[in-house]
């Protein structure tokens, strides 16, 4: 998993590539923890993400809860597999997916 962060004027762009799973989720969590307080708005770019397991969902949910109080959170470039996961878990209703 590769995480690329870009914070521009309170807008945080986070690009996640590879696999977001049990093993890698803590890494993303740590990365986010560093910058999340500084951002009001967050955009996840999942274009390069192959799949996501519930560990990733946990992070998305936790982040959504935090960002929902601020400027909000968007998830972009979701592939089929991940979209199906969002749909199955009801995350498609919670997240703002573009």
């Amino acid at each position: 998993m590769v995480v690329t962060k870009n914070l521009e004027d309170k807008l945080l762009n986070v690009k996640v590539e590879g696999r977001l799973d049990t093993a890698t989720a803590p890494e993303l969590e740590a990365e986010l923890a560093e910058v999340l307080d500084k951002a009001d708005e967050l955009v996840f770019d999942l274009e390069g993400l192959e799949y996501m397991s519930s560990a990733g969902l946990r992070i998305l949910l936790a982040t959504q809860k935090k960002m929902g109080l601020k400027g909000g959170m968007k998830v972009t470039n979701v592939n089929d597999v991940i979209m199906e996961i969002f749909e199955i878990t009801g995350f498609s209703d919670i997240l703002t997916i573009e």
Partner: protein
């Protein structure tokens, strides 16, 4: 030579010594004695009375003769003249009584008074049974008897015949006072015993001039006596023999035979007892003895005794049997008690994740120490170490009851403190003997190494942690069990790591006493435990025993020495086992297996392994992604929770089905039993604020896979997912 008993004698000897013979002899002896005495007395009496009669008759004859003479014939003249002539003769003239001598008395002999007196005498002689009857005079001077008239024709004593007489006779006759019977007994060679009776004839001047004398021979009397004796002896002998014979028969019938019967019965009794060990006999009872005396009494007594002995023996046999039975049963009970302790090591050879060794060295007397270990389920091992108060059978019984109660209760209650509380109450309910038991009880969750334990007044456990050293764990002691109802106990938890060991023991170990009366103590025990690293629990215990023995020396062992060592290897110990199994199954065509330590870092290895298989099947990428997610969820769960805080192995198996084409992936682990399908699905309709993050993974798997099943089997969680292609 020792005296023979009647039993050792021959038949003839026995006859001689028998009661019959003795009776017979006794009768003979007594009869003989009596016979002799009575014979002597009879003879005496006979002789006395008959003799007396003879003498009296003879005397009366002389008296009546004298009276006849006194009335008719005066013979005093011729008498005096005869005496005178006799006196006038010289010694020489008297010496020879020849015709010349008699010539001198012829004139007197021819005297008519003499002749007529002779005639009277003759008359008397003829008519009476006397030896001789004559008239004669004793001459004091010459001590002779001078015959005056003697009519005996066969043996004539002419007038003037003299013969010497005993002076005693002479004096008696001459000095007779006229009272009683005048007689004299004398023995003559010629006539034998003679009795001479006589009556004096007085002359006119009142002097004795002669005697009428009669001789009576006693020989006849004695002859009569001889006959009497002969008859008497014959009669007596016959009587005695008859009497003896009858007595003998009587004795034989009434004594000898019954006594022999009794003796025979006694012999039979002894023989039957000795040879066949008969318990019920009726040797005496069978006899028919009806003598009505002491022998019958003896028979009745013996018969009663036999009966009593039979009863006694029956009772005794029963008592002995009872005792034997009780002894056997007691031994059996002891063995059952001993067998209650598991003694097969290793007790769970199929389990690589732990090892146990325990031992009890019993003291002389049976004690109540016990240990126990058993799997409550595949994931929970219960360890028990206990010590019942007291010794002997009561302690053994109490131990059995306690052990069973603890085990059965442990099967249904998982908290050690609660187990002890329940068992304590159950013991208290039925503890009339006020016995108690100290117990340490621990339950190890084998998949995680979590030891939960509680202590009811027992010795502190020794636990070896990761540091590699045994430590005394001063756990919270509850009250001994059986002491008081409704006691509360406290469970405590200790996390065991792979390599941890638990050593529990009874006070028999720490209170082993040396010859110098020193206690082995926990200090020395700890020293022994930490003296080096041991490979197996058995080595640990052996070393403790060695140390204790060398410390105790020759002092006797007072108490049971009971110890248990549990060695925890950790769930990862399964890894090699499972890997070996996987290796064995690698040949299988459509089944691929991978066994590895379940860690998060190992997830990619699993994913790669499965993907490789999926690729050969031409699995669509989307399906592969879904499966990868499922692997992440499921294997991740095992890695994070199954062995927490330890790690253990997991096996992932990939199988392919043809119709319809499907992939089946199985996740197997030795972790604590956990069915992920049991938890409720998360409510996916809730908003972000209300959503919980738990349960999503499994939910995802359920939704993306075509079938998910779970089972717990052989200590393993088996989760199977199926994805149709």
């Amino acid at each position: 030579m020792p005296k023979k008993t009647i039993k050792e004698m021959s038949a003839s000897e026995r006859r001689r010594h028998s009661l019959e013979a003795k009776t017979f002899h006794a009768v003979l002896m007594v009869s003989l004695l009596l016979g002799i005495v009575s014979l002597i007395m009879g003879l005496g009496l006979y002789a006395y009375s008959l003799g007396n009669q003879l003498i009296k008759d003879s005397f009366n004859l002389t008296a009546s003769l004298k009276m006849v003479l006194d009335g008719s014939i005066d013979i005093s003249g011729p008498c005096r003249r005869t005496v005178d002539i006799y006196h006038s003769l010289s010694e020489e003239e008297k010496a020879v009584q020849d015709e010349a001598y008699y010539e001198r008395y012829s004139e007197i002999a021819q005297d008519p008074t003499v002749i007529s007196a002779g005639r009277v005498l003759k008359d008397f002689y003829d008519n009476n049974n006397v030896g001789d009857i004559f008239i004669a005079m004793y001459d004091e001077e010459t001590c002779t008897l001078l015959y005056i008239a003697d009519p005996d024709e066969k043996r004539p004593y002419p007038t003037g015949t003299w013969e010497e007489v005993e002076e005693r006779e002479l004096r008696r006759f001459l000095s007779w006072d006229g009272k009683g019977t005048l007689y004299d007994l004398s023995y003559t060679a010629k006539y034998g015993w003679l009795c001479t009776t006589g009556v004096p004839i007085y002359s006119h001047d009142g002097n004795i001039c002669a005697f009428v004398l009669a001789d009576v021979s006693l020989t006849e009397l004695f002859n009569g006596m001889r006959g009497f004796v002969t008859n008497y002896v014959i009669a007596t002998a016959i009587t005695v023999l008859l009497l003896g014979y009858l007595m003998k028969r009587h004795i034989k019938k009434n004594m000898v035979v019954p006594i022999n019967e009794i003796a025979g019965a006694a012999e039979e009794y002894v023989r039957s007892k000795r040879d066949s060990g008969a318990t019920t006999t009726n040797h005496f009872e069978g006899l028919k003895i009806d003598t009505g005396d002491e022998i019958e009494n003896l028979y009745l007594t013996l018969s009663g005794m036999e009966n009593d002995l039979n009863n006694y023996e029956r009772d005794l046999t029963k008592a002995i049997k009872d005792k034997e039975r009780i002894g056997t049963e007691l031994n059996l009970a002891m063995r059952i008690q001993r067998d209650m302790l598991p003694t097969i090591f290793p007790p769970f050879p199929e389990r690589p994740d732990f090892d146990i060794y325990a031992t009890m060295i019993p003291a002389k007397e049976v004690g109540g120490d016990f240990y126990d270990y058993f799997l409550i389920d595949d994931d929970h091992l219960c360890l028990v170490m206990a010590d019942v108060s007291g010794k002997g059978v009561p302690a053994a019984l109490f131990m059995m009851a306690s052990k069973i109660l603890i085990k059965t209760t442990s099967m249904s209650i998982s908290d050690p403190a609660k187990i002890l509380e329940r068992v304590n109450n159950q013991i208290c309910n039925h503890n009339s003997q006020e016995m108690f038991v100290t117990v340490w009880l621990g339950i190890v969750e084998l998949s995680t190494g979590k030891l939960t334990a509680a202590n009811a007044g027992h010795e502190y456990p020794m636990i070896k942690k990761a540091s590699g050293q045994y430590e005394l764990i001063k756990d919270k002691h509850g009250f001994v069990m059986g002491g008081m109802e409704n006691m509360k106990y406290t469970s405590y938890e200790i996390q065991l790591e792979p390599g941890s060991e638990v050593f529990v023991y009874t006070d028999g170990v720490t209170e082993s006493t040396s010859e110098r009366e020193e206690l082995f103590g926990t200090g020395r025990l700890l020293e022994a435990l930490n003296s080096k690293a041991f490979d197996t629990p058995k080595e640990v215990l052996d070393n403790v025993i060695r140390s204790a023995n060398s410390f105790v020396g020759k002092a006797p062992q007072f108490d049971d020495i009971t110890m248990l060592c549990f060695s925890f290897k950790g769930p990862n110990a399964w890894l090699e086992v499972e890997k070996a199994k996987t290796e064995a199954q690698r040949e299988d065509k459509y089944m691929k297996e991978l066994t590895l330590e379940a860690t998060i870092t190992n997830i990619p290895k699993v994913t790669d392994f499965v993907n490789e298989e999926l690729e050969t099947l031409g699995c669509p990428l989307k399906v592969q992604m879904q499966i990868d997610v499922a692997i992440d969820e499921l294997f991740g769960n095992i890695a994070q929770y199954a062995y927490d805080p330890l790690t253990g192995p997991a096996t992932v198996r990939v199988e392919v089905e043809d119709d319809p084409m499907a992939v089946i992936i199985t996740f197997i682990d030795h972790g604590k039993p956990y069915d992920p399908l049991e938890s409720e699905d998360p409510d996916t309709s809730l908003g972000a604020e209300e959503r919980n993050i738990g349960g999503l993974g499994v939910f995802l798997v359920k939704k993306t896979m075509d079938d998910v099943t779970y089972e717990y089997k052989n200590g393993q969680n088996i989760l199977r997912i199926r994805k149709n292609m």
